[in-house]
């Protein structure tokens, strides 16, 4: 989707602000969000592409002002509700509980003993290579042109690199296709390439001199170039 998350080349965001002596976590809730995201993914309630698309579906103004873990919280909550893992009513009730008791620990409303946990796959987010034996269509050095598309769903072809000419740098093997995997349409694995673009092709006369950008792009994003 052509959303505000697709930030490459966007202007108006000002200087990079570095935080002096930035802590690993600014507060314990950040770590809790990370733990929740990992638990949900490791137990198979969403895959990494659904997770990314869950964040992309945030309200755009919220996306731009939210911190990193607020984005994760928003995306994971959306997915767990959509998948029926948690219910809207029980979540609202629990939220009301903690808003009235700002110092209560998360375990306070729990009464029954905790149930056993199903097995988890800690590698859920990295398990993307599929040895299908598919022969790559393009060889190193081949000229390609990216498709000029505006898909309404999840895609990893950034808007700044659409309809652009580049050269195949290398093939990374056959990878799960996020555009289908994020939408319950299966893994549809296909060759993934590092594609090199000259900055002038991407930014025209505004390009800085002597710059290239490498982007990892799936085969179906690419057409033969010339």
């Amino acid at each position: 989707m052509d959303g505000v998350h697709d930030l490459g080349g966007m202007q108006g965001f000002g200087p990079v602000e570095r935080e002096e002596n930035e802590p690993v976590f600014h507060a314990a809730w950040e770590a809790a969000v990370l733990a929740i995201q990992r638990a949900g993914g490791a137990r198979g309630f969403f895959n990494i592409d659904e997770f990314r698309h869950g964040i992309e579906r945030m309200a755009p103004a919220h996306y731009l002002r939210a911190t990193y873990y607020e984005k994760w919280l928003d995306g994971v909550t959306r997915l767990l509700l959509e998948k029926g893992v948690v219910g809207a009513e029980e979540l609202a009730a629990r939220l009301a509980y903690f808003e009235q008791r700002p110092d209560a620990p998360a375990t306070e409303p729990l009464t029954a003993p905790l149930p056993p946990r199903p097995p988890a796959n800690a590698k859920w987010a990295q398990d993307v290579i599929r040895e299908t034996g598919a022969a790559p269509r393009f060889a190193d050095g081949d000229p390609v042109r990216t498709r000029d598309v505006h898909p309404p769903g999840h895609t990893r072809l950034p808007r700044y690199a659409r309809g652009k000419r580049g050269l195949i740098h290398r093939c990374h093997g056959v990878h799960v296709f996020p555009d289908s995997h994020a939408h319950g349409r299966g893994e549809q694995p296909q060759p993934l390439y590092s594609v090199r673009f000259d900055a002038r092709e991407l930014w025209g006369e505004s390009a800085e001199p002597n710059q290239v950008v490498h982007i990892d792009l799936w085969e179906s994003y690419l057409l033969p170039g010339s």
Partner: protein
């Protein structure tokens, strides 16, 4: 909270706690999961695997070749099984820079958690379109004759920069080099600096 956190929703803590509580109740979240995350990233203060690999590459040409050609095998020397990493080498002719414009992909296993600036719109928007200006603002002037090569982490492949070994470190061994190698240098927004002369 730093400048990058100007607008945290006051209800965010309650929302986290509500979700956490329900997932504990349903047996989805382990009771010690949050503590383990904190321990993994906060308490584990040893040097990053990335810095250790770079220091070894600087002192062992064969290891450097392995790190560039077969990073998975090279990282296994540090007890890390990480299949997705690519290592890109800075030279006198080339400076590498890593970004994720679409989200905030980052090589956690070798660099730890990403800094906030890496995840914010200013860096993500500008790194691909005006990296030279951006690096200049961040204190790193790149000679105009050096190519800047930006790696936009749009898939599951992750990128780490192999920085240039600074002059003045010829006498140092691997263990002395490790603390010089910063996270920022491995992202490509800084060079590695030689150690400051010891006070006498």
């Amino acid at each position: 909270m730093g400048k990058n956190h100007p607008n945290v929703d006051p209800y965010v803590v309650s929302r986290v706690r509500a979700l956490e509580s329900l997932l504990l109740e349903k047996g989805i979240l382990a009771p010690d999961a949050v503590d383990r995350v904190i321990e993994r990233y906060e308490a584990d203060t040893g040097p990053m695997v990335g810095a250790r690999a770079v220091a070894r590459a600087w002192t062992d040409p064969r290891y450097k070749r392995l790190l560039l050609d077969d990073p998975r095998t090279a990282l296994a020397r540090f007890d890390l099984d990480y299949q997705m990493l690519m290592v890109v080498e800075n030279t006198d002719a080339l400076h590498n820079l890593v970004v994720c414009t679409l989200c905030s992909c980052y090589p956690w296993p070798v660099l730890g958690l990403p800094p906030t600036w890496y995840k914010m719109p200013a860096y993500r928007s500008r790194a691909v379109s005006e990296p030279r200006a951006l690096l200049g603002e961040m204190g790193l002037a790149i000679d105009p004759r050096r190519e800047i090569r930006v790696w936009d982490s749009s898939a599951e492949m992750r990128y780490m920069v192999l920085p240039q070994r600074p002059a003045g470190t010829e006498g140092l061994g691997e263990a002395e080099l490790v603390p010089l190698i910063t996270r920022d240098a491995l992202i490509g927004v800084a060079d590695v600096r030689p150690p400051a002369p010891a006070a006498r």
